[in-house]
Amino acid sequence: MVAIEQDRKVTQLKTAAMTETTDTPTEHHVDLAVPGYHGQEVELGRETVGNVRCDNAFMVAENVNVYYGDNHAIRDVTLEIGKKQVVALIGPSGCGKSTFLRCLNRMNDTIETARVTGNILLDGTDIYSKQQDPVALRARVGIVFQKPNPFPKSIYDNVAYGPRIHGLAGDRSELDGIVHSSLERAGLLKEVKDRLEEPGTSLSGGQQQRLCIARTIAVNPEVILMDEPCSALDPIATARIEDLMDELCEDYAIVIVTHSMQQAARVSRRVAYFHLGYLVEVDDTDKVFTNPQHKLTEDYITGRIG
């Protein structure tokens, strides 16, 4: 770990106005006291409680720090994500869980002032290395957003978009096959089979979100990131998406950000609890929810946050 610290790469995303940041190496290695819930000071260790490692790790984040300009949003986070595993990121609003998620497929590149340091390895290769094209990375690590965002195109074109830009289908019939199987796996095919040419925006919210999932899996990614995918949906649509996640984790590693602890308990194998940019605790889901090790985690899951 020390070795990684020393040859930590600084990934400067855009050379814009924010060249000056207070990136003193010591800053986030000292133990810090942060304000906890209900005003009491809670000791926040530099080391994450629980077990950040896992068997057959597929995606590894080591000592990741994220800055938005001068704002230090993610502090020294280390986390492994295994194959065929759902990892849930939980924590109060603004704790950095979405920011961390967006680091995993370099969506933060699109924010001019964002800067990421540390290493994130996908199947052994550094995704922030110079050789890595974010375009190719995002084909391997797909993302589903909080609000369903189908393109203003037909349902078919929405799903076919990824395969088209990446040149995955040789001909029209192959493309049809990809579209159908993706919709099928997203559990949407039955509902939209006869209206593939209708605009994607004509679907209901839950259907739109499943369309977005179908759109993501049409590229056949290896990891799927989900940023609160159900927060804009009603309970029935949410249940369908959760079922879908269960099925999808047969093939993909899934990282999901959620505000609902029930959802985290239902769908995930492991849970990571974030607080003010720190990764406080990571462990198997049952362990975290039945016997949290850290005071902050306990406060959060017992609902003492109000």
């Binding site: 094209d133 190719a136 084909a139 830009i165 990446h166 040149g167």
Partner: protein, 425 residues
């Protein structure tokens, strides 16, 4: 299965091609952005290159004798019919005594601007004690001499291809070597009205015309525009009539300006019988033209005032009218002023509608009131741009520089007002 490419391989196979496309697209975008900016640079460079020389003007030093016999042929100073030009001619001949023959002399006289005579007239009118004395004075030379001195006429060309004869060029060189020719700041450009003689033509008349017009425009369009914006934002019920007004204003803002000129011609001149070429009419037309701009800007400024302020005042028992005039209007004023200044700068640069209402006339006198015939600065530019003389091209550029200077000043004021009085809610 082994021959099948994996998704990852397929993606990576296409990457190079896609990166190239991305690069090209980005390059095209950069180029497009550069086109506009490049034009701006070329434009200003040409303008400054052509126009800066017009701010100086060549003058000739002459020893003029204020001869009593010429100035007061009947024993009394005759300011109207005295042969002022004759005094200049005599002085010129004294300078170059070896010029003889009528043809030669006539060519010699053409070196000096006809403005020189007026200069003598003015001097003696202001100070009659000059009578009988000999004064060394600087008089303007004719435009062609000025152009030669500025290097805009090529003396090496064949005589028939240039407006100055070999003799004339010889005399000019002689005078130049004697130190009698000098470039001075061209005050005439700023103090004179239009003239057929380039060296006497100035932009004061046009500037005053523009000034009078803008006074009319601001006096009418600002109060009316603000009142209309207040009504539409604060009082208008949501009905057909307000919808109609709304659509109307947006459309009027996009109606070609020349159509407003037609309106001015038909309504103000033919129907109301207002005088042609008058800044008053020009101001009225520009008022109608800028009104939509001011209304739209004022409405945006009113919209930016948060409703909480209105509610607070209403809650204290103020009438709606009091809320608007005591609270909303002062808070929206910076935005409205900015909009008004931008509207005015648009009005100042407008010329097409003014051509319709006769503000294109050749006006020598500087207008002194709202009904005097006059032109406007942009129209003066148009008139001069049409003149074939080389010297006018230079003056056109100078007038453009002055016009752009005014516009820049107005826009800067608008920016400063916006920055100074900007409020964060």
């Amino acid at each position: 299965m082994s021959t099948e490419l994996t998704t990852r391989q397929k993606v990576e196979a296409g990457l190079a091609r896609r990166r190239r496309k991305e690069f090209t697209f980005r390059l095209v975008g950069m180029f497009a952005t550069a086109v506009g900016i490049l034009f701006l640079v070329i434009f200003f460079a040409t303008l400054l290159g052509k126009g800066s020389s017009a701010f100086s003007q060549t003058f000739l030093q002459l020893n003029v004798e204020f001869n009593e016999d010429v100035l007061a042929p009947n024993g009394e100073l005759d300011l109207i019919y005295a042969d002022f030009d004759g005094l200049i001619r005599t002085a010129l001949l004294n300078e170059l005594p070896d010029v003889s023959g009528r043809g030669e002399r006539r060519e010699l006289y053409r070196l000096v601007s006809i403005g020189a005579g007026y200069q003598i007239q003015e001097m003696i009118a202001q100070n009659s004690e000059l009578m009988g004395t000999t004064q060394s004075i600087w008089v303007p030379v004719s435009a062609n001499v000025d152009m030669l001195m500025k290097g805009n006429i090529d003396a090496s060309l064949d005589e028939s291809l240039r407006p100055l004869s070999d003799w004339q060029i010889g005399w000019i060189n002689k005078l130049d070597q004697a130190g009698r020719l000098d470039k001075k700041f061209n005050t005439a450009l700023f103090t004179n009205g239009d003239s057929r003689e380039p060296e006497l033509a100035g932009i004061k008349g046009a500037t005053m015309g523009s000034f009078f017009m803008l006074v009319v425009t601001i006096a009418l369009s600002f109060p009316i525009g603000v009142a209309a914006a207040i009504y539409l934002e604060e009082f208008a019920p949501k009905n057909r009539w307000s919808d109609l007004i709304e659509v109307n204003i947006n459309n009027l803002a996009a109606v070609p300006s020349i159509v407003f000129g037609l309106l001015g011609l038909a309504v103000f001149i033919n129907w109301m019988a207002l005088p042609r070429s008058a800044p008053l009419v020009g101001g009225l037309v520009l008022t109608l033209l800028t009104l939509p701009v001011i209304i739209i800007a004022s409405r945006a400024a009113i919209k930016a005032v948060p409703p909480s302020i209105r509610e607070a005042a209403l809650g204290l028992g103020a009438s709606q009218m009091q809320v608007v005039f005591h609270h909303v209007l002062p808070l929206a004023m910076p935005g409205m002023l900015t909009g008004a200044i931008i509207g005015m700068s648009r009005a100042l640069g407008e010329s097409a509608p003014l051509l319709m209402i006769g503000m294109i006339a050749f006006v020598v006198d500087v207008p002194g009131s709202f009904t005097d015939p006059s032109t406007a600065l942009p129209v003066q530019i148009y008139l001069w741009a049409d003149s074939p003389e080389r010297a006018f091209a230079e003056r056109t550029s100078a007038a453009i520089i002055v016009l752009l200077g005014f516009l820049l000043l107005m826009n800067l004021t608008a920016v400063i007002i916006r920055k100074r009085m900007e409020r964060k809610w």
